[in-house]
């Protein structure tokens, strides 16, 4: 959640106040609409099964200095709530994830209606997290589920200052097939991506007039040796087009994202890593500027006993200095060192203590964070 502090102010400071108010109002109307839909969903079929859960967290952060043009404060406090609801009947499925945080962050992160094609595959329509990468489509907004407080810089959500369009509105084919003792999972997404503004990527909205109307397409496949085993190896490939009419010297961004990820878990040790290869084309109609860079992270976790887990993470980038697209994201964390402890002090509640040294384009700083997180029920 620390990354939210690092990037949040950029999103809040960019638009005019009147626009902010209108957006806030629209967000809450959309949340209310989602609640109305999900409460109606169980009546679709008599034998509907449903489930819900509530994630809550609160994070306090201290930085050694304010960074990125004063947009990042030295001390910050950020509470957040995420409500998840799922329902399924014989064929019909429904899922939503509503997320609210301080700093005017309230959104329908995901709202999906699906039709089960067979016992392993579902075709969904709605708003999704883009399956380009690992972290966002594994932990989503469930802070309690992830061991660390913050997520890697490359995996930050677009509406929290991330550089990849992490939401889209459209279709998603989500499935799994048995492969011996193991299982192959796949996700194929196609839809409308966000819009690039001077302050960052604006996620596509489910309701209201669409902006930009550019396509995003994604494919992700992974293999796990056994159901329930977190060990997995996978690859992803995506192509994004972002309208950038309000960005100086650009009218459109064309982005190709590819990479691999892996999780290795044995007894008390878990390693999670991903490698991204990204190519960005900024086109203003007359000229085209291209940049390519690679980013990787590796997180190691050691569970000393059922209550205490130590973790550390390294993030690094290559070729990022000359990418014209990255120049639009001064708070992109290209390199970072993270060390922390997680204390599961009660059932469904955890305290995390984390030190991080993120390196931004303008330099690095030290960051200390403490987070309480829980899930109910």
């Amino acid at each position: 959640m620390a990354e939210r502090f690092m990037n949040g102010p950029a999103r809040a400071s960019a638009p005019a106040p009147r626009k902010d108010g209108a957006r806030r109002s629209r967000r809450y109307r959309h949340c209310l609409a989602a609640v109305a839909i999900l409460t109606a969903a169980p009546s679709v079929a008599a034998e509907t099964r449903h489930d819900y859960t509530l994630f809550a967290d609160a994070t306090a952060t201290h930085r050694s200095r304010a960074a990125a043009g004063g947009g990042l404060k030295r001390d910050d406090f950020d509470p957040a709530l995420t409500f998840v609801y799922a329902a399924e009947s014989e064929r019909f499925r429904f899922f939503t994830e509503l997320h609210a945080a301080s700093g005017d962050v309230g959104e329908i992160a995901r709202l999906q209606a699906g039709w089960r094609l067979d016992s392993g595959a579902t075709l969904w329509l709605g708003r999704f997290h883009n399956p380009q990468g690992y972290w966002n489509t594994q932990h989503h907004h469930g802070t309690y589920v992830q061991t660390a407080i913050g997520r890697p810089g490359i995996e930050r959500f677009d509406d929290e200052g991330g550089i990849l369009p992490s939401h889209f509105v459209g279709l998603l084919l989500d499935g799994r097939r048995a492969a011996g003792e193991g299982v192959v999972r796949y996700e194929l997404g196609l839809g409308q991506s966000g819009v690039l503004e001077p302050s960052g990527i604006e996620s596509p909205k489910l309701f209201g007039a669409p902006r930009g109307r550019r396509l995003t397409a994604s494919a992700r496949v992974s293999y796990s040796p056994r159901d329930g085993d977190p060990t997995a190896l996978g690859a992803f490939l995506g192509r994004n087009r972002l309208s950038a009419e309000e960005v100086p010297d650009a009218s459109e961004v064309r982005q190709t994202v590819g990479g691999i990820f892996g999780v290795w878990a044995r007894e008390n040790l878990r390693l999670t890593g991903a490698v991204f290869f990204i190519e960005n084309d900024l086109d203003n109609g007359a000229t085209r500027r291209t940049g390519r860079f690679a980013n990787a992270y590796l997180q190691a976790e050691y569970q000393a006993n059922p209550a205490w887990t130590a973790y550390g993470r390294l993030e690094d980038s290559r070729g990022d200095a000359n990418d014209p697209y990255l120049a639009l994201f001064p708070r992109f964390v290209a390199r970072q060192t993270v060390a922390g402890m997680r204390w599961d002090f009660a059932r469904h509640q955890a305290l995390k203590f984390e030190y991080a040294r993120p390196l931004l384009a303008e330099g690095g700083f030290d960051q200390f964070a403490i987070q309480w997180s829980m899930v109910f029920p």
Binding site: E88, R93, F94, H140, G228
Partner: protein, 154 residues
């Protein structure tokens, strides 16, 4: 005197017969998956049981979904189920369920604390399944054993 003689005979008999009786093995513990007798659930593999209890869809012979019920009325049974069938610790199992809910919208299995309620739910829902000790399953009318999940090794 006669009383002492009777007591001595009783002690001797106990000494002769006792060890034989003590040496008899206790009934072998078996964990089984059960459903109501009229359920259309055929053979189900260990991988399918794991999938089912991770909130993922597994269908019966007639194509209808199988409904997993978690038996929390017996902590030892639950421990054996997690360790020997799911190959997960209790916290890891909870995390896996949350991950599947978050990732795939997978509805978590219903947990039932009372054995009476569990059996009522089994009888009420045709394709519901749960885990029981084999001797309990065999002693309960209107249930059938779908598959053996684990057998205690001696």
């Amino acid at each position: 005197m006669k009383r002492y003689a009777r007591l001595a005979v009783a002690v001797c008999l106990a000494a002769i017969c006792g060890p034989t009786a003590w040496a008899q093995p206790a009934p072998e513990r078996r964990l089984v998956l059960v459903a109501s007798a009229d359920a259309s659930i055929g053979n189900i593999s260990p991988a399918e049981v794991r999938r089912l209890y991770l909130g993922l869809r597994v269908t019966a012979a007639d194509g209808s979904p199988i409904l997993p019920l978690v038996n929390r009325s017996d902590p030892f049974l639950q421990e054996v189920f997690l360790q020997k069938v799911m190959f997960l610790s209790a916290p890891a199992y909870e995390r896996a369920l949350l991950a599947n809910l978050l990732r795939a919208g997978a509805v978590r299995p219903v947990e039932i604390d009372s054995r009476k309620t569990l059996l009522e739910a089994l009888r009420a829902q045709r394709n519901a399944v749960t885990c029981l000790w084999a001797e309990d399953a065999e002693a309960t009318p209107a249930l059938k054993i779908v598959t053996e999940l684990w057998r205690e090794r001696r």
